[in-house]
């Protein structure tokens, strides 16, 4: 009797020779997500006097193909916060389900009216993203969390796939970091300036940013979602069309395509 359990249930070494364990090994190291597949582009957000405006277009691209033109990338949490997702769409769906479960569980344990505010939610998501990158299995997203903090003051912060966090009166992900941030900073260079903005002003600035992004970002769409988070709740519109587009500037762009001069 062979008393070593690791030898049970396999061909006997004395009859068939030693087992070659290399057959059981995968060839190469274990790999997780190396790059995103179906992606969403920029999310832009801007604080104002009483809250935060956040917007993202409704496109999910497959590489450079505009694959899904009906994808809602702004997600509400507990009726008090909005999370905007840039990056991988399947990871966004995973996070969305995870947040849904979190909201239900929080509701079980907390007294009425007490749930995670936007600051708590941002910290939670940043920790989750950092945990996943530390497992070398990142969730390939760049998030903006918009809502109110514990004092009902506007709150806006970002977290990326490495778990890096950042906060500012205006924030954008993806191409928006380059194209939308400079525009928003013109109106809200610091917290004081942002606190002067009215809701209508903030919405107009964000809509202007969405237009510029549609002009210049080849992975963007003219249909977008926009949400305004205030103490009164979330006003989310999911099928907004860009208005007053003017492509007159396009004539003057040189150096691309088939132009010869």
């Amino acid at each position: 009797m062979d008393h070593r359990p690791q030898h049970w249930g396999r061909p006997r070494d004395d009859v068939y020779g030693a087992y070659d364990a290399s057959y059981m090994r995968p060839n190469g190291p274990t790999t997780h997500t190396q790059s995103p597949v179906v992606t969403g582009t920029s999310v832009v957000a801007l604080k104002f006097k009483d809250g935060v405006v956040i917007a993202a277009d409704n496109l999910a691209s497959y590489g450079s193909l505009a694959r899904f033109p009906d994808v809602k990338r702004l997600r509400t949490f507990a009726g008090t916060s909005v999370v905007g997702f840039g990056g991988d769409v399947s990871d966004m769906q995973y996070l969305d389900r995870h947040l849904q479960e979190l909201a239900i569980d929080e509701n079980y344990t907390s007294e009425k009216g007490h749930t995670l505010n936007a600051r708590n939610l941002h910290k939670y998501l940043a920790n989750l993203l950092y945990h996943r990158r530390s497992k070398f299995d990142p969730l390939w997203n760049h998030l903006l969390v918009a809502g109110l903090d514990e004092d009902d003051k506007p709150f806006l912060a970002a977290a990326d796939l490495l778990g890096t966090t950042f906060t500012s009166p205006s924030l954008a992900t993806g191409y928006g970091e380059m194209l939308a941030q400079p525009i928003m900073r013109r109106y809200a260079k610091d917290e004081e300036a942002a606190a002067q903005l009215t809701r209508d002003q903030a919405v107009d600035i964000v809509k202007e940013c969405m237009k510029v992004l549609f002009y210049r970002d080849a992975r963007s769409l003219d249909t977008y979602s926009i949400a305004v988070v205030t103490k009164q709740g979330i006003d989310l519109k999911e099928d907004v069309k860009l208005e007053n587009q003017s492509w007159a500037f396009a004539d003057r762009i040189k150096g691309y395509g088939t132009q010869t001069v």
């Binding site: 809602k72 990338r73 849904q100």
Partner: protein, 309 residues
């Protein structure tokens, strides 16, 4: 119960020669001593109410909730052994979560009742366990809107049916689950000490007609708890009420506590008296309202009501 003392009542999962499971019957006895629970399925929602007996003056009023939420759109209230009820709620939450994990959509009221009925029934089969000492009332509102899939990103095809089924979907649901695991769907359900009086009151409401709306149901539920409490009038109690409306109603499809203003109004002496008079005025109602009204001042301790107002 001539069979008592024959030994067949000592163990779970053993039938007596005349085909009874005594342990289950004893569990029902435990329920019959608990505070009264009531559920009403109105046309646009569900109300759950419980008579919470105050066991000590040192307990904080309004704390120690007896009605629990499961997922977002379901509520559970129970009479009997409270720790058993707590475990029932834990299990119901696990069922609701695993349903979402599997199907990416909220569990329906009927499916939760089915799962929990099956769970309780299993506790009548084995020597190593005892049946649940509770009867639970599960109320919920299954969304009438097209149920979103958790994590869904789009709205699906813009032409054709896209897999959608025409017709009415969702609506209010109310189920009562007994220690045997048996469950039925109800228009109005009552259990616990005052269940007889409460059931008699519920039958007068003609809930099957589907005319009673949610706000009326809240007042009726409060009244019924107070009427059912009369046989037990020496005990102090607190009324706890929750409700679930459709997506356009006051709770937006969620299970929530009835707001304080509405609950206070429903609990006011004149609201209850007016309702009693109204019930009396209706024909075809066998109801000894004179008897009820003569006992009313005792049942509804005026000082207690004032503290609620």
């Amino acid at each position: 119960m001539t069979s008592i003392g024959t030994g067949y009542d000592l163990a779970n999962s053993i039938f007596s020669p005349d085909g009874r499971n005594f342990q289950v019957e004893y569990a029902v006895k435990a329920v019959e001593n608990g505070g009264t629970s009531v559920g009403i399925r109105a046309k646009d929602g569900v109300v759950l109410a419980v008579e919470k007996v105050i066991t000590s003056k040192l307990l904080k009023p309004g704390a120690n909730k007896r009605i629990a939420t499961v997922d977002k759109h379901l509520g559970v209230v129970y009479s009997g052994m409270i720790p058993d009820g707590r475990h029932f709620v834990d299990r119901a939450r696990d069922e609701a979560r695993s349903w979402r994990d599997t199907f990416k959509t909220p569990i329906s009221t009927s499916d939760l009742a089915s799962r929990m009925g099956g769970y309780l029934q299993a506790y009548t089969l084995y020597q190593s366990v005892r049946p649940f000492g509770i009867t639970a009332i599960v109320g919920g509102f299954d969304s009438e809107l097209e149920a979103p899939v958790d994590g869904e990103v789009g709205t699906g095809p813009s032409v054709g049916a896209g897999g959608k089924v025409e017709g009415k979907h969702g609506g209010p649901g109310l189920y009562m689950i007994e220690p045997s695991g048996m469950y039925w769907g109800y228009y109005g359900a009552a259990t616990g000490k005052g269940r007889q009086a409460a059931k008699a009151e519920l039958e007068k409401l003609d809930l099957a007609a589907g005319t009673l709306d949610l706000k009326e149901a809240v007042k009726e539920a409060a009244r019924i708890i107070y009427v059912a409490q009369q046989d037990n009038k020496d005990k102090e109690f607190e009324l706890e009420m929750t409700w679930i409306s459709n997506a356009t109603g006051p709770t937006k499809g969620r299970h929530e506590e009835v707001p304080k203003e509405l609950k206070d109004e429903a609990e006011r002496h004149d609201t209850i008296t007016a309702l009693l008079v109204e019930r009396e005025s209706k024909p075809n109602i066998e109801y000894d309202s004179q008897k009820v009204r003569s006992r009313l001042p005792f049942a509804m301790n005026a000082a207690r009501l004032m503290t609620h107002a």
